[in-house]
């Protein structure tokens, strides 16, 4: 499994949309930044066919350091949940969309 970087995607998007890289780059960066901001504000993001991002609250709990076995208090926090869209699900499982 290889890792695809943002730079590779930017180059590819520039080519397919015939848009200059200098335009693609800030647009993609801002897209990612805005997503973080909206999720932090407690909003849900829905991109048709792609999927949904939303935050869930995790209650505070007492965990254990697996090495030292020492108990650690973990405070309540929010985590991001991504649910893939129908199209992605089908594509990943080799069925025709």
């Amino acid at each position: 499994m290889s890792t695809t970087t943002k730079k590779e995607l930017i180059d590819r998007i520039a080519a397919t949309t015939k848009t200059r890289r200098a335009v693609v780059k800030p647009v993609i960066q801002m897209f990612l930044d805005e997503m973080v901001r909206e999720l932090a504000n407690g909003h849900r993001l829905e991109f048709r066919d792609f999927g949904v991002f939303e935050t869930k609250r995790r209650a505070a709990r007492r965990a254990q350091n697996p090495k030292t076995l020492e108990p650690v208090e973990v405070s309540a926090r929010r985590v991001v949940k991504f649910k893939m869209g129908r199209l992605v699900k089908q594509k990943l499982n080799g069925r025709r969309p």
Binding site: K6, L9, I28, F31, E34, A40, G42, V80, L92
Partner: protein, 101 residues
Amino acid sequence: MSTITKKELIDRIAGCTHTRPGVVKPVVQSFLNEIVRELVKGNRLEFRDFGVFETRIRPARTARNPKTLEEVQVRQTRVVRFKMGRLMKQRLSTAEPQVPS
């Protein structure tokens, strides 16, 4: 919890970057399409600060229809896993949203 759509983000990005929405839209759409394509190929995607997308195999299992209690065989499926990045984690570290929604 209100839902933000792609269109709202596109308009906002267009405004801030002084780029026409007609230019921003295909770029954003192509970005989402490329992510899907890479995941289908089995690749992992890492966006610094934002997070990591990768696929995992969920093994076949026997589930139960909660209504009829009937047992159902569920085939092995590939699912997308998203792990939040450093900045995302930091911004979400408070248990409640900073701005009431």
